[in-house]
């Protein structure tokens, strides 16, 4: 699922998206990473924040990669929910670069809010100007953050910053923080146009 940023590469502490997520995670927190790929993020959070973490992953090769990385991984299909996890049992549930590939988006957000105090989501911003340009020129976008051709993409639910924020509002998720990145740079000016990757931290609306 999480191939859009080349997740099969070995742990790379320089990855700006990891650093950004880590900055939101309190030291020693309990973290669940959904669609954890090879477990690099779990390992990064463990090593940099002292977090206790589990990954959830469906793909056999990624599960094996997690084993090799020495991180806890539970092989399971996100689409069928998070039944193995007790309500409120995590400090953070992370859905990094996976939201756009999930079939049942509403259910996964609901489950994230159930098992955890806070959710962290990152996704490629479909509203990024280069994507818009490609659509305007009559083509589906292919870019660094969306590296697939329209016919072989795992990404079925692309959205923009505006779309996601509206979705959160409708689904009882209160956004606590947002960061928008383009490469290594953080974007504050016109983020829905200039941002390539979006990061949100949210909680259950009280």
């Amino acid at each position: 699922m999480k191939k859009s940023l080349g997740m099969n590469s070995s742990l790379n502490a320089a990855r700006p998206d990891f650093a950004l997520i880590a900055a939101w995670v309190k030291p020693g927190a309990k973290v669940l990473d959904l669609g954890c790929g090879d477990g690099s993020l779990i390992r990064f959070l463990r090593d940099s924040r002292g977090s206790r973490g589990y990954g959830v992953e469906i793909d056999d090769a990624n599960v094996l990669a997690c084993f090799n990385n020495g991180v806890n991984v539970i092989q399971s299909d996100l689409e069928s929910g998070l039944q193995s996890f007790e309500s409120g049992s995590f400090d953070y549930v992370v859905l990094s670069q996976t939201l756009q590939a999930v079939k049942n988006t509403e259910n996964i957000i609901k489950e994230m809010l159930r098992v955890s105090k806070e959710g962290i989501v990152s996704f490629p911003n479909f509203g990024y100007w280069k994507n818009r340009l490609q659509v305007l020129s009559g083509h589906m976008p292919v870019s660094e953050a969306l590296p697939y051709q329209w016919f072989d993409t795992p990404n079925i639910h692309n959205c923009t910053l505006g779309d996601f924020e509206e979705f959160c509002g409708q689904h009882g998720a209160r956004i606590l923080e947002r960061r928008v990145m383009s490469g290594n740079r953080q974007i504050t000016f016109m983020p829905n146009l200039l941002g390539m990757l979006a990061f949100y931290r949210f909680e259950q609306q009280k």
Partner: protein
Amino acid sequence: MLMQDSNSFSTVTPQVARFDTPLHLKSGAVLDSYELVYETYGELNAARSNAVLVCHALSGNHHLAGLYDDNPKSAGWWNNMIGPGKSIDTQKFFLIGVNNLGGCHGSTGPASIDVRTGKCYGPNFPVVTVEDWVQTQVRLADYLGIDQFAAVAGGSLGGMQALQWTLDFPERVRHALVIAAAAKLTAQNIAFNDVARQAIITDPDFHGGDYYSHGVIPRRGLRLARMLGHITYLSDDSMAAKFGRELRNGALAFGYDVEFEIESYLRYQGDKFASQFDANTYLLMTKALDYFDPAFPHNNDLSAAFRFARANFLVLSFTTDWRFSPERSRAIVRALLDNELNVSYAEITSSHGHDSFLMEDRHYHRLVRAYMDNVVV
């Protein structure tokens, strides 16, 4: 003692440990003394930190890997998993295989002589449980000078023993490998076990379990029990793939002799087993399976049962295993997660049913290797 080639042991020798401290069993019975047969592979390191105990399944024994000197066909039951350079690497770990108490491969069991009577224990051998086995295995660990196992591993009934270790001796096991196991049997499983037992007990040669003194064995019952068991260890798909509806002689015979290849196979397996395994041991082992239920003393709350467990866990299941289905493994995982224990779980796609855990499967073996490579010794 051991000579090694590139990926297998060329010779292995079983050893015997004798225990003369009375053993109080869960049933209330007491065994004054007993012997356990075991084998070891690899070398215990100076820190005594690299020992791995491998617990056997229903019909298993202590012979995990390698060959006996005098028998080129004597490869151990987990030879594809254990050995130099294999997934559980004996160049890193010191492996111990043990024949459980009540067994019929050298450890004290129903066919052993009871010194008080000078006769075989037979039906008087006490019922043993998974907890009892763990108790005997910790004594074996003491005997071998091992304070803490790097890992305790097992498939099926062996996985149950690995689980029990983490409950009874949390400080003495760092990792538990629980493969194709369950935290308790389903009613369907107990039903299968009882049909198997009834086949043995109602065999005219059973003689109330005292067939030793009659010079016979309940071969027919044991054979039926194994045939039934064997069906449940395979999957419908694997049987279809291996045997289909192939006829032995190409045409229907309209009789009750062997016609289909599957019948031939099951009868062969049944006969082989009946000539190698003790019927009373089979009864004991299936009872141990039925009784295993660590959640029972905790109001059926499995999470509560693991409250004091400290080990790191590897839980593996196989998609076509309907006797110990992935759902059963996920229940174990859930209980471990509830206790915030380190656990990894993989659900391995395999067509071989419950027997998958003994099969050569690349992904399965790579998972175990990757996990064991990260075990610190």
